[in-house]
Assembly symmetry: C2
Homo-oligomer: 309 residues x 2
């Protein structure tokens, strides 16, 4: 199969691995999870997974696990949710019923390593009809801090809906198309909750938090406040409502694997008004819970859980 | 100052921030460290720092802190080394005497966020004559697993000594030149220790662990074993002896900040012979201690600590 003509997902709900080498391997070690096909019974551990929630921070993934357990009525007051990846400090993973939560660190390379191993894990475990949602934080453009943005398109720093993957030293462009129906369902959940503003918009994904996002407060800055404002205004005109650092490769890899995927990020500040995160910890913590609440509501609806415990 | 003509480091040993905006800020919040100029007395906390050791894994940074404390005779048997960034799970930071240890997660974006905030921290703390060393793990090419590679040049996936930084949507190329004298001093330390092989060579820095490093065992693979071997042979011919995911931006940012910097990574496998990390935990753990031992020896020599406690 020539580069650039990669096969997209199929329609039968199974996880697709675009790798003919995998089936001839006697064993597959998922190194950064400290899991493997010889050492763990992956189908037994994971076959019932229907929802995977990923986010940068391990603490937030643990918090979401506890939250969703309570919301789904699966909470055992005596239960601890063990970190399934306890043997490594690269990622943290928790599971409660059909919901798997995995941290991914910061940036495209970090989430890409995790997604390669997660996609193989779901494939080895023979999971079907999996929905994968990234919940995260972001900087907003022209919207009120605390607004939750469901991503319509993930775009790069030139506002194009593509992810550049270097393979054997050559760039390959991949589509960052996400599932439109899932995005609309999540937007609808935000409206039903009516606890905070939820909008749909494009999300810009950058390789850097400071210069890559036109911040003026990094260790280096070679542009002016006017240059910054001009760039952010161009982004807004291209439909960008928030900026983060993982959505493009997340969208590209989920699309290649036939996984229904969405990105839901809260904005912690309005970048047109500043660069630093000056809000109090209480305010920022409250904001960070919003994508969790929204995703929790969606999962409950899908599972027909009528009310929270 | 036009893009691409950025000023390089000065010669007086101070940390250089290439950002005219910084001095006009009333306060600087180092968000991902949970530190700030208003909330913390950064000169008091950090002014004596002379060596900064960074690495991907927080556990390894804690281990190095304990190791170097013992080696420098600064160990208090009753002392715990508190995580200075305990209020966040993004990075971990430990300090013992003149040595600061900071984790950086995986990949260029993750280490770049940390380095922006570390460089500003060292600047605010008025540190001088700081040496910054990344210790890490890597895949080797054509060398025995367990070999420690001191980086001569950090090169990209096309084997060029450059780091592409996107600023306001446009690519800016930065030099990844490291300090040649420091690299030679570290190589010499390896020879003095004579506990494991230490070599000097080029290090390829990629944005991805699987497709980006020509692995055959990711969730996607569109090339053959022959294609992989051809690419690795090309890399070897260009002087590349190991592959990791942070050295290019590390080298570029240290150069811009006038910080003497080096990269010391152990190889966990020979990529020409395989892709998976099949060695036992004991063997891999032993390998991972080697850059720590080498850096510890170097720091002791610099501080004229004659023998370990």
């Amino acid at each position: 199969m020539p580069l650039g003509e990669e096969k997209n997902g199929m329609c039968d709900g199974s996880i697709y691995v675009n790798n003919p080498h995998l089936d001839s391997m006697q064993e597959d070690i998922l190194y950064h999870f400290n899991l493997g096909t010889s050492t763990h019974d992956l189908p037994k551990m994971f076959m019932d997974v229907k929802f995977v929630c990923v986010g940068g921070s391990p603490w937030r993934m643990k918090a979401f696990t506890e939250y969703i357990a309570k919301e789904l009525g699966l909470m055992d007051p005596n239960a601890e949710y063990p970190n399934i990846c306890a043997g490594t400090d690269r990622y943290a993973m928790y599971k409660v019923g059909p919901v798997l939560c995995v941290s991914h660190g910061m940036g495209i390379p970090s989430i890409a390593i995790m997604l390669h191993e997660l996609i193989k894990l779901l494939y080895h475990a023979r999971c079907t009809d999996v929905t994968l949602v990234r919940i995260g934080t972001s900087g907003g453009i022209g919207i009120k801090p605390g607004t939750v943005v469901v991503t319509k398109q993930s775009v790069d720093a030139m506002f194009q809906p593509r992810h550049e993957q270097i393979i054997l030293g050559k760039p390959v462009m991949r589509s960052t198309e996400l599932d439109g129906e899932l995005a609309n369902d999540l937007l609808q959940c935000g409206k039903e909750l009516a606890e905070f503003e939820t909008i749909i918009g494009n999300t810009m994904c950058t390789l850097d938090f400071y210069e890559g996002q036109a911040r003026l407060d990094g260790a280096f800055c070679s542009y002016s406040e006017d240059d910054k404002q001009h760039y952010l205004a161009e982004a807004y005109a291209a439909g960008v409502r928030n900026i983060e650092m993982e959505s493009s490769v997340f969208a590209a890899m989920c699309k290649l694997s036939n996984i229904r995927a969405a990105v839901v990020c809260v904005t912690l500040l309005d970048r047109q008004k500043g660069d630093q995160l000056t809000s109090s910890h209480e305010v920022l913590n409250n904001y960070q819970q919003r994508p969790q609440v929204l995703l929790g509501h969606y999962i409950k609806k899908q599972l027909n859980v009528s009310k929270s415990s």
